[in-house]
Amino acid sequence: MKKGILSNRLKLFKKGEVLFLLVVFFFLLFVLRESLTYPSDTRSFPQLIILGTLFLCAVLIMVTFFMPSVKETVVTPEPEGNPEVSTGWRTKGRFYRGWLSIITSLVAAFLFGFIFFIPVSFISYTVLLGRRQMLVKAVLLSVVTAVVVYIAFDRFLGIPTMRGLLLRR
């Protein structure tokens, strides 16, 4: 009986929610330690906040481990997703692909400036997460957007836009 409960509790570690809480907890401990090196007037407020939040995290951790029967119902402003899509591996895959799309676009922006950022983000999104038929539409749209944005912001309004590392004038 006891073994069952223990292994149940250990399984909790795998849950993303708990992991997140632990990460936050240890992060707060880390900054608390850092704050001890600051002069007294600067550190009182941060320390107060950190200690308060640490306390709350500790409470939550204990509740999760010692009262796992209390279900954590998520009642937050989340978009009403389709149930089949929001759980399971299918979401996991799309989650990583979504980030891949963002990262590729960022790399493009960093290296080549916003001019390339725009088409790359359209193309990467459609290729990774969208439907193949949309690719042409996406590419055309991206070119039009890039040109419009360039004219409007760079030439007309004079607002500087991201210059790529490799294309620096």
């Binding site: 001019i115 690719l135 042409v136 590419v139 890039a146 500087p160």
Partner: protein, 335 residues
């Protein structure tokens, strides 16, 4: 949504063509403009240490149309905000000294950033080009305050610790204030705010006893008679407020730390480029329209050419360096 059916071959062709067009267009737009010979032949980038709308920025934008007129090329303003100006200075000091990247920075903010806050640049190694604008620091009280003038103020303040609002820790106002109160042997509680306007607001609400800040921020309150200046920290009387005494008038043997804003370039900008830029500034400073505009905006013009600008910059630098120990203690920089 349309349900057109295109054959896969056509889709691929369309994709390729679209991609090709995209690449061509974007590369064409991104290609840098071809270099040129006589300076200036390309737009000049003027980096500003603070955000759009701050006094440095507004002054630069006021001068911008005139500089463009006399230089013949566009002046592109770029606000590089960060760490009280250090970010933009650290950036410009590493740029090519071809005259196409310039920095508009305030002083002594520049020197303070370097000496007290360990900024990664050397103020004196910048190529000093021109300084158009300067600012005076003033000591102000509420118009209905019991302090009638400086003598009265000093009299009433003896033995007490008054609270003084300043625009920021280590700001010109703060430093001038420290130097003055040390001389007058007055104890002060310094209450730092974020900028002159906040400091003035606190005084206007009666939450602090007096305020030391730049006259620029106080313009509205001075004109509206909400605030009253008791003295101005300057070497000569400020023409905009000619009836306000300066240290000399009051018999105080205290130096002013002057406050000005100037344009610099990275180290070692060639002399002929500097001359061309300097000439444009000189013409702007004498331009009737510019002067009229500055008059209306109550912006103080103290024209200093490259040599004079550098001289003032160096004197400010030396002064702050000399007081470094005391000021650091007061200001507590990053460990």
């Amino acid at each position: 949504m349309k349900k057109g059916r295109i054959g896969t071959k056509d889709v691929r062709k369309a994709n390729l063509m679209a991609l090709a067009t995209a690449l061509v267009v974007t590369v064409a737009l991104a290609l840098p403009a071809s270099g040129a010979d006589k300076f200036p032949s390309n737009p000049i980038k003027l980096v500003i240490t603070h955000a759009a709308g701050t006094s440095n920025d507004v002054e630069a934008r006021t001068a911008q149309p005139f500089l463009q007129k006399y230089l013949g090329v566009p002046i592109v303003i770029e606000n590089m905000v960060g760490t009280g100006g250090r970010k933009s200075r650290e950036f410009v000091i590493k740029e090519k000294p071809d005259g196409y990247t310039l920095l508009s920075t305030g002083m002594p903010s520049c020197q303070i950033g370097e000496i007290l806050f360990k900024g990664r640049y050397q103020t004196l190694s910048f190529t000093h080009i021109y300084s158009l604008f300067s600012e005076s620091t003033a000591l102000l009280v509420k118009s209905d305050s019991p302090f009638k003038n400086m003598a009265d103020f000093v009299e009433k303040a003896k033995g007490k610790t008054l609270s003084c609002a300043v625009p920021g820790v280590g700001s010109t106002a703060h430093l001038n204030g420290i130097v003055l109160t040390r001389y007058l042997k007055l104890n002060t509680k310094w209450v730092p705010f974020d900028g002159g306007t906040e400091a003035l607001t606190a005084m206007a609400g009666g939450h602090v006893d007096y305020v030391i800040c730049d006259t620029g921020s106080a313009t509205a309150m001075l004109q509206g008679k909400v605030a009253r200046p008791l003295m101005i920290f300057e070497d000569k009387r400020d023409p905009r407020y000619a009836d306000v005494p300066i240290q000399k008038d009051l018999g105080y043997n205290v130096d002013t730390i002057p406050s000005l804003r100037g344009v610099v370039g990275p180290p070692n900008v060639p002399a002929d480029v500097v001359n061309i830029l300097e000439a444009a500034f000189i013409k702007s400073a004498q331009d009737k329209d510019f002067l009229a505009l500055a008059e209306k905006a109550k912006v103080k013009i103290t024209a200093r050419d490259a040599k004079q600008f550098f001289a003032v910059s160096k004197s400010i630098y030396d002064e702050i360096k000399a007081e470094e120990g005391n000021l650091s203690a007061m200001v507590k920089p990053e460990k």
